[in-house]
């Protein structure tokens, strides 16, 4: 993330190489994320790790292209909402049992019952629950990165942070005395 910065600065951010790699990697990384999500029940991985992988794909774009370019081309704004949707989905799956007279978080189909397969993906509510987790984590991680990117940009554009004047550190006091 830092290695390209010195050699050939493009738009003052990173090198062309990084950008090309970032662009190439975006879709495969997202695919891996989705695979991790749905294969989670059969192999290593679950909704959480899938969410982080997908988020890292987006983070790479931020690092390579900078905030403005990414937010122009990728629909990242909606991801915050996505994470709340994920939470709702997970809670919704949890509540399914309630409506069918079972305990909270009863997953369907019942143990031992026949499971419908689509390819290698098994259709069970636990997978749906994991999808909710995925959305939540994905939205969360990208949201955090966006926020920090936003603050960095604000700082670089010279916009001053507000001062909470009621906490006078010695440095601040000294500065004020200088002014006076």
């Amino acid at each position: 993330m830092t290695e390209g910065g010195k050699k050939a600065p493009v738009e003052g951010v990173t090198s062309t190489l990084t950008q090309v790699i970032a662009k190439v990697l975006l879709v495969p990384t997202l695919m891996i994320a989705v695979a991790t999500l749905f294969k989670g029940y059969a192999q290593t991985g679950d909704g959480f790790s899938a969410g982080v992988i997908a988020a890292l794909a987006i983070v790479l774009q931020y690092l390579a292209f900078g905030r403005e370019v990414v937010e122009r081309y990728l629909p990242v704004q909606g991801l915050g909402t996505l994470s709340w949707l994920g939470l709702l989905l997970a809670l919704g799956v949890a509540a399914v049992g309630l409506f069918r007279g079972d305990a909270l978080f009863t997953h369907y189909p019942a143990p031992g019952a026949e499971v419908i397969h689509i390819g290698t993906v098994e259709v069970i509510t636990a997978v749906l629950f994991d999808v909710g987790i995925f959305l939540l984590v994905f939205g969360y991680a990208v949201g955090a990165v966006r926020i920090i990117a936003g603050v960095i940009q604000r700082q670089e554009s010279g916009e001053p942070e507000e001062e909470a004047v009621y906490h006078d550190t010695e440095e601040r006091l000294a500065r004020r005395e200088e002014r006076a």
Binding site: M1, G40, Y41, A42, Q43, T44, G45, D46, G47, F48, S49, V52, I53, A55, L56, V59, G80, S83, W84, G86, L87, A90, L91, A94, L98, F99, G101, A103, L104, F105, H107, P109, P111, G112, V115, E122, I124, A126, V127, F129, D130, I133, L136, V137, G139, Y140, A141, G143, A144, V145, R146, I147, I148, A149, G150, V151, I152, Q155, E161, E162
Partner: protein, 762 residues
């Protein structure tokens, strides 16, 4: 049933589209009202689902008479209030904007008022004490945000906090009462409890606790002080709060658990006394108030005092009359509040003495609120006449002294209602008055005409009240309010009310001094002072704790680490150590694990000696990655995957933070004197040694049960259609924990966002 679901839905849709919030909200409120009405007419319905069977918690709601009454009030008056606010709120926000320069679309108003409505409906229908408690607290939360709607005003915030504290703390009493019942009878269900309980000290105690919660919410003495304060809210909120929601919730609760309260003579008598005190305090102070909304607020205290009084009187008249009274009062009072709002909007004045003679300029409003006022004052041809008739009936049934008290109460009502209406609409014209939009007048007109309709066609209202009374009384109620043109005791009492009321109004100059002195005395020695004193005391206490606990954080940490180290050391000395610690063999397969562990340890130690911050981050992440690799060699690929991913994210986060902070600041306080290094080093060494002994000791002694839960879980995984046991534990066996975990994650995002964005969401 629709009503329960409809309100949250409305709130959501309203919050998504700012412009549409008002019409959507009002539409859904109206729809919910109609749905409730249809539901009631078709005989009600019930839902009963166990949502945490292991704790005996049930989601039990039923649309019985009591539920129908309060749901209809909540949704019907909610509808009127929402129509009113669709015009009032933009005006209100306009004023605030001029005053403070802040802009605020006010969507949250609709969100919270609909949340309020939804939880009120839920509360009305709930048949389970825990469910009651949940909805109860929801109304408290909604009211907190509504009362504090003008959040830039300190007064608003303080009032909101006061309402929340008074009703929230007493809500805990409700919970305790519920738990006492549960401990004794093993159920939270109110109908079951009614059958099971026997009169006795237990019922008095638990019922009393629940009744206190209800009384606090209904702003009865000595909890009355929060209600006048709550007038800081925008007018539609006040109207709603007073007539159909917050305050009504208190008497709703009392009505709901009334079959239980009835079993204790003590409680009934306490209700009588508190009701009477509230009538007197509220009524007398209302006579002295000059600000319109304040007058109405004290009148509410007094009016709900009636209801509590009637519950205290008991008998079938008491139960039915209380319900009827709530209907009549809700219609009148909401209309009067909305009138006050409209008048303020027209004249920009809030005090009665600065307004007058508005009848000529706002004839429709004057007529409509006149009808409402007449209803409150119990004049004939209004629904209010019957409420007083029933009051006298109930009092007479109990005995002549009570009838006398009821008479005095009615006189007070008449006096302050007259003061409000005549002060605003009669007399000589003062000040200017602008035209007000129709949406500010129409709801008042509708409510006013309902008051009149109820005066002629009382049967529908009476039927509703009878149904509700039956639910409270736990037996069918046969009370028929009607006009009897004869010299019955009730009619004589009503006539006496009018006569004495007129006298009181005319003799105002004589008693006003005494009444003011009473109000002053209340301010000086009333419970509000106790509340404030308690609040200040708590504040000081928290400051004190803060001073000794937090100021010196590192000292605190050291005082935890060192003594716990000493204690562990003592513990080890005291226990036999022979054959406890096992070194454990290292086989050839373990070499990768050993290497990974060594890498983690070395990288960690390197962190201590790193000075530059970027290097620090890199060393930190290598320590993290080494740990992740160790996880992999523990046979935990899932953990290793997540650890690596998380480590990457954390590294990025730390780097981002470092980038935001200038280097000079980053290194502030980084260098510490050598002497301190030694001290800290030794504390850390003690901590490390403690960790070592504890870890070694516990790891040497694994659980006696070979396999245990782990083996069982591994066997169960295929049953849950999964191959990866870890995933199935997370998503299925321990899914509730996972939900908790990701909720933490979501809240952290909120926290980070607010911290980075100056307290606002991006």
């Amino acid at each position: 049933m629709l009503a329960v679901v409809a309100a949250p839905v409305a709130a959501l849709s309203g919050s998504l589209r700012p412009g549409l919030a008002a019409p959507v909200g009002a539409g859904i409120a109206g729809l919910a009202a109609v749905a409730t009405l249809v539901g009631w007419l078709s005989g009600g319905g019930a839902v009963d689902v166990a949502w945490a069977p292991s704790l005996d918690l049930r989601f039990a709601i039923e649309l019985d008479g009591l539920a129908a009454l309060y749901s209809l009030l909540a949704t019907g008056i909610g509808f009127a209030v929402l129509v009113y606010s669709s015009r009032y709120l933009p005006l209100h926000l306009e004023h605030e904007r001029e005053a403070t320069g802040t802009s605020d679309p006010g969507v949250r108003f609709y969100f919270f008022i609909l949340l309020f409505m939804g939880s009120m409906v839920g509360l009305a229908m709930a048949q389970d004490l825990i469910l009651v408690f949940v909805f109860w607290d929801l109304t408290a939360i909604a009211s907190y945000y509504l009362i504090g709607f003008d959040r830039h005003k300190e007064e608003s915030r303080a009032s909101a906090l006061m309402a929340l504290l008074v009703t929230g703390i007493t809500a805990v009493l409700l919970l305790i009462g519920a738990l006492v019942f549960y401990a004794a009878y093993g159920t939270f269900s109110i109908p079951e409890l009614v059958e099971l309980t026997e009169p006795g000290a237990l019922v008095t105690l638990a019922g009393g606790l629940i009744a206190v919660a209800g009384l606090a919410k209904s702003a009865q003495v000595p909890f009355q002080f929060w209600l006048p304060r709550a007038m800081a809210a925008p007018t539609p909120v006040s109207a709603y709060l007073h007539s159909a929601a917050m305050v009504a919730a208190g008497v709703l609760l009392i009505g709901r658990v009334y079959p239980l309260l009835q079993k204790s003579e003590v409680l009934l008598n306490a209700l009588l006394v508190i009701g009477l005190l509230s009538i007197a305090v509220g009524g007398i102070i209302a006579l002295t108030r000059n600000v319109m909304k304040q007058l109405l607020a004290y009148s509410t205290i007094s009016q709900y005092g009636y209801v509590v009084f009637m519950f205290g009187l008991g008998g079938e008249y008491g139960a039915m009359a209380a319900s009827f009274y709530v209907i009549a009062h809700a219609l009148s009072k909401s209309a009067l509040f909305l009138t006050a709002g409209a008048v303020t909007e027209a004249t920009h004045e809030t005090e009665i003495s600065r307004i007058g003679g508005l009848a000529r300029r706002m004839p429709l409003l004057a007529a409509a609120s006149g009808a409402a006022a007449a209803g409150l004052a119990a004049l004939p041809l209004t629904i209010g006449f019957f409420k007083d008739e029933l009051l006298f009936d109930a009092a007479l049934e109990r005995g002549a002294p009570f009838a006398g008290l009821a008479l005095l109460a009615a006189v007070l009502t008449l006096a302050y209602t007259w003061r409000f209406w005549s002060g605003v609409f009669l007399g000589e014209a003062r000040g200017h008055a602008e035209r007000v939009p129709w949406a500010l007048v129409a709801p008042v007109a509708v409510l006013g005409s309902l008051v009149l309709v109820g005066g002629i066609l009382v049967e529908p209202f009476a039927a509703l009240a009878r149904d509700a009374g039956a639910a409270s009384f736990d037996a069918p109620v046969e009370v028929e309010p009607a006009y009897h043109l004869e010299a019955s005791p009730e009619n004589l009492l009503a006539l006496a009310t009018y006569a004495i009321g007129a006298l009181v109004i005319l003799s105002r100059p004589i008693w006003i001094g005494a009444a003011r002195a009473f109000a002053r005395a209340g301010e000086l020695a009333g419970p509000e002072r106790a509340y404030n004193a308690a609040l200040r005391g708590l504040n000081r206490f928290s400051d004190f704790i803060h001073t000794i606990e937090v100021r010196d954080l590192r000292g605190r940490v050291a005082t935890i680490l060192v003594p716990s180290g000493i204690l562990v050391g003592l513990g080890i000395l005291a226990t036999p150590s022979g054959d406890v610690y096992r070194v454990g063999e290292v086989t050839g397969d373990d070499v990768p694990l050993v290497l990974a562990l060594a890498a983690a340890a070395i990288a960690t130690v390197a962190i201590i000696f790193t000075k530059k911050h970027v290097t620090l981050v890199l060393v930190l992440s290598s320590a993290g990655f080494a740990t992740a690799v160790a996880f992999a060699f523990f046979g935990a690929p899932d953990v290793a995957l997540v650890a690596i991913l998380i480590e990457t994210l954390i590294t990025l986060l730390v780097l981002g933070t470092l980038k935001l902070i200038p280097r000079k600041v980053l290194e502030s306080g980084a260098r510490i004197p050598v002497r301190q290094v030694w001290r800290k080093g030794s504390v850390a060494a003690v901590a490390g040694a403690t960790a070592f002994v504890v870890a070694w000791g516990t790891l040497s002694q694994p659980s006696a049960v070979e396999g245990g839960a782990a083996a069982r879980l591994t066997e169960l995984a295929p049953e849950a259609h999964a191959n990866d046991v870890v995933t199935v534990i997370l998503a299925d066996f321990r899914a509730l924990d996972t939900i908790g975990e990701v909720t933490v994650v979501a809240l952290v995002l909120l926290g980070v966002a607010t911290l980075l964005f100056r307290g606002r969401l991006p």
